[in-house]
Symmetry: C2
Subunit: 332 residues, 2 copies
């Protein structure tokens, strides 16, 4: 079976490139220094590959990701790095009990109370270190930790995500700003206590030398946004399409915006200029002629919301299909 | 059960607003003059409501939509308005035989041959009327119809989609350009023959007086892009979120870009300024203070790829939940 046997659009993963990415990261950030973020792939089969490289603790963005990782036997140490107030979902995670170790981000009295009420045991204090999103002010982190402990919660430490710094182009400026953000996180940690200082992503992992663990995810599969940073990771994921219509000036393949994450803009195609995406089509001007029926590889601008559009990914060795992985952590 | 009992993010549909949209369209474009496009909602329960308003013929964008509509007993007259070469999927649609009437768009010798080989009976000649996407040149449509008939296919007529004209703001310019596009389609139809001239969308349906049927879809649920056109349809769909974090300058809800179609840009929230979306969050500045735990309604910029992110939609009467509809036509 090869790529010509796949129905399209289809997520395809170059198995060798993926392995190289996982090995490269494991060599640079080994063991529990990395807590891979599963939101980037939503795939327990891929998470199991990360675990085989020594990365056995994981970051999750949704309760569904936590539950699915636990079901897959990958629940040794799962961090839900987002706040939730949902009693059903908190209760489900609490009911995992000994089947998984679950730690949940909290940043307010309300999220602390919701976690405690649901029977959650472990929390991290989520600290705002510059991205205008979740996280308590650094100077209020200690008080929140005290309040959590008063309700019986175990506070394992702090987390803070410097998402606003991932794409800073100038290396010196990026280093300076990441260090300033980590200063805030470490100051909060002094007030909070606990063993964990969790931060970082694929765009900043090289600079995150003062935290105990890094939450990178995109390094495994990559996308055109992160490729622009010159990181030592290869593009391992594409969306395979079929050319369904050819015109003298352009061609059309069946990889539309419903098969892609579009928030970072249009995808790209090697050897072609992408004009635009419609729901089920990509219109592009190829450098060399293409024929109806040809297969094309489309490279998404953003990997996370591309994976979440599909129910499976196909593992390739060259053009040969070697496995099918369910994208089994979709939804919430 | 009301909106406070729903886990979020959740697609919610105002049942009364939806009914008004369906009634309004049925009064203006009754019966088989409209062939509603199910790609806008991917939901057979919603399609059944359209059928109850007299719209019993449907447009589909993917083989999966065709198969799901047939399975739901809504296969009286289904048009796959896109080209496909996939022998498995063409074969599945052909095997529906008497269980559904399926007509497939073709625009090349290759797509004609693929349809004939798979045992498809009915085709429409897809004509390029200005959008750089699929469709044969108008002056080659007759020859393609002849080739299709030689292979035993029934050519029911022509279709052409003027997608590039949906958002033209000036009314006179829009009318002039739509008429010029329809001139091309009617010229092709004279060469092709058949009973069907299919075109149009929610942005142009009022101008499409010379075709036999209109392929509008977004009118049922609407989005902020189409709302800007001043059409007689209401916003019936929102994505419900929960405020999970509050800061003096901003608040954060759990409706992120994985719960939204982002290709038309950021969603909006009444009474707030949306700053940005992350995978699982929307950061916004509310005009009036909000509290952690509050529910917010997020209005997507593009309805089609919002529905395709979710597995269900909740029907509301006011804040009360009255039904759950499966979004059962996702995928390809």
């Amino acid at each position: 079976m090869d790529i010509h046997d796949l129905s399209t659009p289809a997520v395809i993963i170059d198995a060798a490139a993926l392995e190289r990415n996982l090995s490269t990261m494991a060599a640079m950030v080994p063991g529990q220094r990395l807590r891979p973020h599963v939101k980037a792939h939503k795939c327990t089969a891929l998470a199991a590959r990360q675990a085989s490289h020594g990365h056995t603790t994981f970051t999750c963005a949704t309760p569904r990701e936590v539950m699915g990782m636990a079901d897959a036997g990958l629940g040794q140490d799962l961090l839900l790095a987002n706040e939730t107030l949902d009693p059903r979902r908190l209760g489900a995670m609490a009911s995992l009990a000994d089947a998984a170790m679950v730690t949940i981000a909290v940043d307010s009295a309300e999220t602390v109370a919701a976690a405690a009420t649901a029977g959650i045991v472990n929390v991290l204090i989520d600290v705002n270190i510059g991205l205008p999103r979740c996280g308590v002010d650094p100077d209020k982190a200690g008080a929140l930790a005290d309040a959590a402990r008063k309700l019986g919660l175990v506070v394992r430490g702090v987390m803070g995500y410097e998402g606003h710094l991932m794409m800073v182009a100038d290396a010196d400026e990026k280093a300076r700003e990441v260090n300033a953000a980590v200063d805030l996180l470490l100051a909060a940690h002094r007030d909070v206590g606990g063993d964990i200082v969790s931060s970082g992503g694929t765009g900043t992992y090289q600079l995150q030398t003062r935290v105990t663990e890094i939450q990178a995810g995109s390094y495994a599969l990559m996308d055109t946004a992160y490729a622009s940073l010159g990181l030592p990771f290869e593009q391992a994921l594409h969306v395979l399409g079929t050319v369904v219509s050819v015109n003298p000036q352009w061609a059309v393949a069946d990889v539309g915006l419903k098969a892609l994450g579009m928030d970072h803009g249009n995808p790209s195609i090697d050897g072609a200029t992408v004009w635009f995406c419609s729901d089920e089509h990509i219109t592009f001007a190829p450098d060399l002629p293409v024929k109806v029926g040809d297969r094309v590889r489309v490279t998404p601008a953003h990997v996370d919301p591309t994976m979440s559009q599909h129910d499976a990914a196909w593992l390739l060795s060259g053009d040969n299909v070697v496995d099918r992985w369910s994208i089994d952590l979709r939804g919430w």
